[in-house]
Amino acid sequence: MQNEYDLVIIGSGAGGAPIAHELARKGKSVLMLEKGPLILPQYQATTGVSGFRRDEALSTGAEKILRLDVANKGMPYYSSHVEPDLNDEPHIYRRADGSDDATIEGYTAQVVGGGTQLYGGVSLRFTPRDLTLAQWNNRPGAALDGDPNDEVRRAARDWPFPYATLEPYYAKAETLVGINGEVANQRKPFTSGDKYQKPLAYNPISEHVKAGMDALGMPHYRTPLAVITEDHAPSGRKGPQPGEAAKTAYVNRYGDPMGFKSSTWVSLLSPIKDLPNFTLLPNCTVTHLSSDGARIARVHFLAPDGTPREVSGRTVIVACSAIESVRLLKLSADIDRTGFAPRINQDGNGMLGAYFLTHCFGGASALVSSPERYDKSETLDSDFASDFCHADEFLAAQRIWAGAVIYNNTSDRALPLALARNYGSRDLDTIWQGFNQATELVSDALDAFLDHSFGRGLSITFMANQVPVKSNRIELHPSVKDKWGRPVAYIIKDYHSHDVALMNKLSGVCRDILVRGGVTVDIGSGAVFGKDELARCANHILGGARFGTDRTDSVLDPDCRAWGFDNLYVTDGCFMPTSGGANPTLTIQANSFRVADILASRI
């Protein structure tokens, strides 16, 4: 390892990898520090076997017991092999009753590739309207449900650039990452052309979704998924042979041993891994940054055995996933209260950590009726999506502030352990709970339960913009520390009353799709949160260091550079001022490609 690099990038996921890819290929010296392990796909592993497996016990592991001094102390939790051990590094959230719980929600994954190793791969663009919600909600005659104090209009923000600026970078991300999908019927201009690989045949259970959307006049398209279905030249990956071999149901929440899923490791970092000017150090946790005036002078990290080290970068990129990036910046401010702190906090304007966002999300779920039953293990994560609820006319008619994508999940409840451990559970923190309590499901009754549900589950999800609220925020927890003795992230958030109104409407649409598609057995729908589940993030961890044109109203400038520093950029999901009506990763990647171009001209 050298002492100084052109670029030090912290975090190897969606926000960090595109910049490494671009600037290493332009000959800049790049060091990437990643807290998690380097897990190779089978074709790269020296032992011939990948550390990712088609094994349900890896995605949701054995029981562990929370030992921390929090309200849910003593409770079990079940994390994956690339999620942190909660006793070592928890996230804490404030419950509705004011008590503090540790949660596994709010982590993406800690591994080279970050959340893109485990993600479902749903890779949607945001719409032009998603980036102009202030304009839209301040139009004459705008009216919203569930917003008695007229707050949403004032909370809405436009992005500092229009969709047209991002469009070529969406195309670049789609090309380089490797995504299959369909352009027709998407409500976003694909000015740079169609870069998708061909989608695979959909699972026949999704015919119901198609029928339901058709009956409601909702134009649909095959959900863009970051899984290659054929050879992918930019990353040198061989596609599945035949393409159908990629369909296994070990997709969402699983790293892909074959490397068909387009994690940032296989798609963006592998192609540069042998360049002499690129260094990746996995298993290294960055503890803080230190500054000298307006320059980040040193990046401090712990080697895999805990030995402290430091390095400097002429430019430093923070991309640890939103909660952890905010935490890293706040920890750095805590250590240097007169230098780093006033610069990142911009003399105490309270913006760092504020406006934390996830999505408004939820949907509907039911079972197809007997004798129908499908092999749900032959699937990727989703088959059909619709932008119907993105149309301006829909927003105006429904009196909601922003639009949403709706898509079906195909792989949920596809495998036997998932069927049981998700039974009656509401989130990652309540896995197995419903099944455990249903002690009557044994022997013949267990057989009947399986007969009822095996190969029959179908669910539809919406992903909508959450209203940005300043009090939704990430702080450092006052007492709980990680294994190194550093304060952990404290998640404080709730939904706005308009969010609740919006979620009720959109879950109704999801329900209608199922009903019109003829799927009604055990139907349930709603927002996927209750008052007690404020931790829920849908794995979408956004905001907290938003960008904007007004430094008093943002942490980052439009180039994702921290207002108070010359050489500090933050490029994971925390830059988002609004969360978009779609899953965020493709937008994080596209924005990072945009920032990479800016950096290329600066360094």
Binding site: L302, D305, T307, R373, Y374, A420, V442, K483
Partner: protein
């Protein structure tokens, strides 16, 4: 013993997460120490019957350069295998490690020799005390059918309890299992894939639990030890003169119902508060054992998955769980995936 080339990043991938912590942190603070020694797949060499087992040592500090070696029953006991420094960025770390190949289906005891001094592995919580009072560390490899947690009377009661939980005692399921194991046995001879199964233990769920509470859910071993004893006591008092594992199916059904209701006549709540809690634990473990990957010691020969496929068919008898195509040979039939 002959060691495999060390996969330095592979060791750091686990050590960085589970072992790295402040120098003053007590050993008891390790997260998931059961992951050590690391038992993993071995693919090179086309012998699917071997596991890679990696022993890991963490030095107290950078100045601790004492040599470390491992001795164990997987090798001739007088032959010590030295652990070598694990490198990060070309430099030695606090970790030392060695990887050896051990057959699947085995259990072994071992010790570290630190500067010639024998001691149990300070990370791995699995220990056994031999008759002579000496403490050793223990490991077992994948698909291990040797019981390591339970005595035979405990296994027998567990077999009855798991039978009550799984829907595999009906005639159709029994016929299917008999046929499946008959053919699996034939296949076993052909592919050198073997997995011990005992038909009195429905598809190895008991064996799975035996392994789970030795390792991943070691914190639950005590629950089993206390509750199996309590159950034996209850059944003995209900059916004097009979072995608890031999009482009727009705007796087990009654017991199950009472445990589910949280009220079992004769259950000493001063020894274990909630029979319902134990039942929930047992049920989760049993289900998991029946349908987890066979390497964990249950779902013997993938019979659990095969049964699901057989039992839950679509219209026109279509398969609705073609599990084999995604799973590695010899358990499954994936054309390209190995594990």
């Amino acid at each position: 013993m002959q060691t495999e080339p060390l996969d330095h990043t592979g060791v750091l991938n686990l050590a960085g997460k589970y072992l790295a912590r402040r120098a003053d942190a007590p050993v008891a603070d390790y997260a998931e120490p059961w992951r050590f020694p690391v038992v993993d797949s071995h693919h090179a060499g086309n012998d699917p019957d071997l596991n890679r087992v990696t022993f890991v040592w963490r030095a107290g500090g950078g100045d601790d350069r004492r040599p470390v070696a491992v001795v164990g029953t997987f090798d001739s006991l007088w032959d010590a295998t030295p652990l070598e420094p694990v490198l990060f960025d070309g430099q030695p770390t606090l970790y030392r490690a060695a990887t050896v190949l051990i057959r699947k289906g085995q259990a072994h005891i071992y010790k570290f020799l630190v500067d010639g001094q024998a001691m149990a592995d300070p990370i791995n919580p699995q220990r056994v005390v031999l008759d002579n009072g000496v403490e050793w560390s223990r490991l077992f490899t994948e698909q291990c059918a040797i019981s390591v947690s339970f005595e035979s009377w405990e296994l027998a009661i567990l077999a009855r309890l798991t039978n009550e939980i799984l829907p595999l005692t009906g005639d159709d399921a029994q016929r299917f299992m008999d046929l499946y194991y008959f053919t699996a046995d034939k296949r076993a001879r052909e592919t050198a894939f073997h997995q011990a199964f005992r038909l009195e233990q429905p598809i190895g769920a008991v064996n799975f639990i035996d392994k789970l509470v030795a390792r991943e859910e070691r914190h639950r071993l005590g629950d089993y030890k206390v509750c199996l004893k309590l159950i034996a006591d209850v059944l003995r008092s209900r059916f004097p003169g009979m072995a608890p594992a031999d009482v009727s199916k009705d007796a087990y059904q009654d017991l199950y119902q009472q445990m589910a209701q949280g009220k079992v006549d004769g259950w000493d709540t001063s020894r274990y508060q909630s029979p319902n809690f134990f039942l929930q634990l047992l049920r989760r473990h049993t289900y998991t054992g029946a349908f987890s990957h066979p390497k964990y010691g249950g779902n013997a020969g993938a019979a659990g998955w095969a049964w699901l496929e057989h039992r839950f068919r679509g219209p026109k008898d279509a398969s609705c769980f073609n599990w084999e195509r995604a799973i590695e040979p010899p358990i499954g039939a994936s054309a390209d995936y190995v594990a």
